[in-house]
Amino acid sequence: MRGHSSIWLFSGILLLAYGVIITGTGLWELGHPLAHPPVLSWLHAPIWWGAVMLCAGLFYTIRFRHHR
């Protein structure tokens, strides 16, 4: 059986992609407020939550990019 990439690499790539999209959305909303914002929108959850995902995704992608 051939070796295959680690599941943690797939996880990292997915987190990275989601982190970029969600952080980007949060930043965009700073300049374009939503017409119907969710409760506690002033906490800007997409920015910090997206940033957490982005950092975790970067770590796992780099750490497991050659791991099999």
């Binding site: 790539i13 997915l14 969600i22 939503l34 969710p38 959850a45």
Partner: protein, 576 residues
């Protein structure tokens, strides 16, 4: 759809069309699309690694403890777990946490420390496979057929819960969302087998946490912390019973669930919990894929640690909804008539409350991931049990390895099709979880009696195992049918006129388990036992367990199991 019953379809069509809670933005759709893309890609990517039956059904037995442990929990963390128990938390309060703590943790630790060596050493491919070695083919056939039936029913329930999310949150057509999601699962499991299912389950586990974790965090911010939340719930409902785990269970009528602590401890904590976590092949299969005995023992312990944390993302949102939602939720049958939101919709309602574009897509993806992980677990286990324990054991014993792999792939598709049909049958249930508990008590509780006696008592015989399992299962079905026909019989089954449906499920499981034990012991004592030399690797006391050489004390599974047990006890005291 073709096999859905006419009454089920009628109810389905009568369901009022509520306006969807939200319209997804392009960002949300992109997030969902990326998820679907990557899970299907994983299926194609791993197709080349699932050519033999050992690879397809057992993932090559090369998973690490962490991967097997996360998969072990994730396979159980379906959309039913997420939405059903969030709804139960709204309906019954913090009592619902028992299904995550006493209803899981002791059993998971017991599996890792006591039972796993027997499953692993015997090198069986399934739980019915163990029963075949211990009790013979009759018991294997009975348990395999029961398991296959339960599996597809469970899968259908998961699918129904998923359809509710799509209806409430997105206003999507139910049939469309069911078919798209289930066909995706069928593709990646059929292509990559258990390895693909496990890979995706780990991914789905991460997504579930990332998508759902914001709800309790933001909810606690809005409520002003846990203490304020308790006060708000008490003020709104006029009782403090919704935020205590044990102190209200001295009598059936003192708590919202209508249950007694004996039912929780003996029915849920011992019978249902141990039955599910130690003998349900859906979860045990993940642990059997571990690469060595130590990983197999550590996997359930790692799983227990994460399982203990799940109430934070499932139960707490239900409790928060009691405080922060400006309207009341109602049972499913009432919601169908009035058009109000039901208990089972509490999690998506809370998701919409706190999440805007992007995060909403992530939350919806988490719910879809929960559905897929649960369904993939069911269909991969179904395919394995059908191929090994029904088809390979009784219908075609001498086929080639590649033939069995092909059978496994076809079974995956067939299992999905049966599940889709089943999804339409479960809509009669007033509460999804009540239905599941009933199913568990039919099959799981007696099976635990059979397996545990087989592992711990060398005198248990072939005939004893078979008749005990059959008698236990028939007892469970009989008690259920009795209460269905005459609801007043509940006072006899659950030992109190104040008992409610959940309590009945606990006691039914307890009685069926006891009947299984009694019949197994009685019949075993009247029949000829297996020679002791044939019990090696199968029974405690006649099996030499391999020595485990851990370099440090903190590498020992028993140490980690002890740490989890201490935290478990502490949490129960804190929320007493």
């Amino acid at each position: 759809m073709a096999i859905a019953s006419a009454p089920a379809l009628a109810l389905f069509l009568q369901t009022p069309l509520k306006q969807s809670l939200v319209h997804l933005s392009g960002v949300d759709i992109a997030i969902i699309a990326i998820y679907f893309g990557i899970v299907i890609y994983i299926g194609f990517y791993l197709k080349g690694s699932s050519n033999t039956s050992e690879e397809f059904f057992m993932a090559g037995r090369e998973m690490t403890a962490w991967i097997a442990g996360l998969s072990f929990v994730s396979a159980n963390l379906g959309s039913l777990e997420l939405m059903g128990w969030a709804g139960s938390a709204y309906q019954y309060g913090i009592l619902a946490t028992h299904w995550y703590w006493i209803g899981a943790i002791p059993a998971m630790l017991f599996l890792g420390i006591i039972m796993m060596p027997f499953y692993y050493i015997s090198k069986v491919n399934s739980v019915p496979g163990y029963l075949a070695l211990r009790y013979g083919d009759g018991t294997r056939a009975l348990s395999a057929i029961c398991f296959a039936l339960m599996t597809v029913l469970m899968s259908g329930i998961n699918m129904y819960a998923m359809a509710v999310v799509m209806k409430v949150v997105l206003g999507w057509d139910l049939n469309f969302s069911i078919w798209v999601s289930s066909i995706t699962v069928a593709i990646y499991v059929a292509l990559g087998g258990l390895r693909s299912a496990i890979f995706n389950e780990v991914l789905q586990f991460l997504l579930i946490w990332l998508g759902a974790l914001l709800i309790p965090i933001l909810g606690l911010v809005e409520a002003g912390g846990w203490e304020n939340l308790k006060h708000q719930i008490a003020a709104r409902l006029g009782t403090t019973n919704y935020t205590h785990l044990w102190s209200t269970t001295a009598h059936f009528r003192d708590n919202p669930m209508g249950i007694h602590w004996t039912g929780l401890v003996f029915g849920l904590g011992i019978v249902i919990s141990f039955g599910y976590w130690t003998t349900d092949f859906l979860v045990v299969q993940r642990v059997l894929s571990a690469r060595n005995l130590r990983s197999a023992r550590m996997a359930p312990i790692i799983g227990a640690a994460f399982k203990m944390a799940v109430p934070f993302i499932v139960i707490l949102p239900g409790l928060l909804a009691l405080s922060v939602l400006p309207f009341h939720l109602v049972p499913q049958d009432v919601a169908v008539v009035t058009g109000q939101h039901s208990y089972n919709e509490v999690l998506p309602l809370m998701l919409v409350r706190y999440c805007g574009p992007g995060l909403l897509g992530l939350g919806v993806t988490a719910l879809i991931a929960g559905f897929m992980s649960g369904m993939a677990g069911n269909v991969s286990a179904f395919a394995t049990v059908w191929t090994y324990d029904i088809y390979g054991a009784f219908m075609n014993k001498k086929a080639s390895d590649s033939h069995y792999v092909a059978m496994g792939r076809w079974c995956t598709f067939i299992g999905v099709l049966i599940s889709v049909g089943t999804a339409y049958l479960v809509q009669h249930a007033a509460s999804i979880m009540d239905y599941v508990q009933a199913l568990f008590s039919f099959f799981i509780a007696p099976l635990f009696g059979t397996v545990i006696l087989g592992m711990l008592w060398k005198r248990a015989t072939r005939a004893g195992g078979f008749w005990g399992l059959l008698a236990g299962t028939c007892t469970a079905i009989g008690l259920w049918a009795w209460v269905e026909k005459d609801p007043s019989a509940l006072r006899y089954v659950a030992l109190s006129p104040d008992a409610k449906a959940m309590a009945a499920d606990m006691y039914r499981a307890l009685w069926s388990w006891l009947v299984c034990l009694i019949v197994t012991v009685a019949v075993s004592l009247m029949t000829k036992p297996k020679p002791v030399e044939e019990l090696g690797g199968l029974v405690y006391g006649v099996t030499k367990l391999p020595e485990e050489h851990d370099d440090h004390w903190y590498q020992k599974p028993i140490v980690w199991a002890g740490a989890i047990a201490v935290i478990f006890i502490g949490l129960n005291i804190i929320f007493w």
